[in-house]
């Protein structure tokens, strides 16, 4: 009897308005809430509106395995601010049950490729809780450096917590 192992095919695609239910599900996970600025008990209506009418300059990417949305990354550019047009900020979340399996890396790779090769961005910025070690390791792997520590930045699980402000400058073209 042949046992064939099904290759897990991870696809990165753009988030569409109809993805709001999958995103609501992603944001029910306690680890996702812990690592972001979202609050428990996410509202499907909130995500429906957010996806139906995204901010100008927003690129939502999803990591999908089969029909399941297992991760998301939002890249926010600043089309209305010419003096910040070279920069973008990003935030991401991997579904609780898919963390630690390379989803974050896949999303980050797609994002830096998009930023470097198509969106002509020089500077990517993000914030991450100082105790979110796996996330910090991921960002450092993609060239992000800590630029500062923002104290009592957000409220999380009953206390104010610090974040690192990190940024990645586009690498100089290698000749």
């Amino acid at each position: 009897m042949e046992t064939s192992s099904e290759e897990i095919k991870l696809i990165i695609r753009r988030a569409e308005p109809d993805d709001y239910e999958s995103l609501t599900r992603l944001f029910t996970g306690p680890r996702v809430i812990w690592g972001t600025l979202q609050v428990p008990y996410p509202s499907a209506e909130f995500w429906r509106k957010r996806l139906a009418d995204p901010t100008d300059g927003y690129y939502g990417l999803l990591a999908c395995i089969g029909n399941e949305v297992v991760g998301e990354l939002g890249l926010l550019t600043f089309p209305k601010a010419p003096r910040r047009r070279h920069a973008a900020s990003l935030f991401m979340a991997v579904r609780d049950d898919w963390q630690g399996q390379g989803i974050g890396s896949a999303l980050m790779q797609a994002t830096v490729d998009l930023a470097d090769k198509w969106l002509n961005l020089m500077r990517l910025e993000l914030e991450v809780y100082t105790d979110n070690e796996p996330a910090i390791r991921l960002y450092k792997k993609f060239g992000f450096e800590v630029e500062g520590t923002l104290r009592c930045f957000a409220y999380r699980d009953g206390q104010y917590v610090d974040v690192y402000s990190m940024a990645r400058m586009k690498p100089a073209a290698s000749s």
């Binding site: 600025l37 609050v39 010419p82 003096r83 070279h86 500077r123 500062g148 923002l150 104290r151 957000a154």
Partner: protein, 178 residues
């Protein structure tokens, strides 16, 4: 003989939609443009529209010398982000010819009083170009501390320049007490 330095006092009030001409004048000044994210040749009409639709959760203050509006400061909270409701971002600009005369101090004093005593904000944050020494001094005077340096944060006068990210934490505010 006493060489008394006359200390100017400025009236602080809420910025109103009708103030758009004065705000346009502030941002017509090259120094105001240099110190912020504004671009040259501001549009009075754009400021008219912007002030007519104030951003939710924001408070805008005006500093007046007599009847002339000479500076403005915005306190932007983060509505829709309950986990950031203790925080706000500050941005300000003083008319070029009124810089160095205490307008910034008057605006900052009003802003921190409002934050501490009425808006219940324990964290105020801002960005300032690393070479904008008078502004950095002003913010430090009001308890802001440099938390980091954002490299090539913005484009200014032909090059990318760094900005400090600074914040003032008020630990006395109820929210920060266990």
């Amino acid at each position: 003989m006493d060489a008394a330095t006359e200390k100017m006092s400025f009236l602080i009030r809420r910025l109103e939609p009708d103030d758009y001409q004065a705000v346009y004048r502030i941002f017509s000044g090259p120094r105001a443009v240099w110190g912020t994210l504004q671009v040259p040749y501001p549009s009075a009409d754009a400021w008219h529209k912007r002030l007519a639709q104030p951003r939710e959760g924001s408070t805008y203050l005006a500093a007046c010398a007599g009847i002339e509006l000479v500076g403005q400061l915005g306190i932007d909270t983060f509505p829709g982000h309950p986990r950031r409701q203790h925080a706000a971002e500050i941005g300000m600009a003083v008319m070029d010819e009124w810089q160095g005369k205490g307008v910034g101090t008057a605006l900052m004093q009003a802003a921190v009083d409002l934050a501490d005593k009425w808006l219940n904000l324990s964290r105020l944050e801002l960005q300032v170009y690393t070479d904008n020494e008078p502004a950095v001094r002003l913010y430090k005077k009001f308890g802001f501390v440099i938390e980091g340096t954002l490299r090539s944060f913005a484009f200014r006068d032909g090059q990318y320049v760094d900005a400090y990210t600074m914040a003032r934490i008020n630990e006395n505010i109820g929210m920060l007490q266990p």
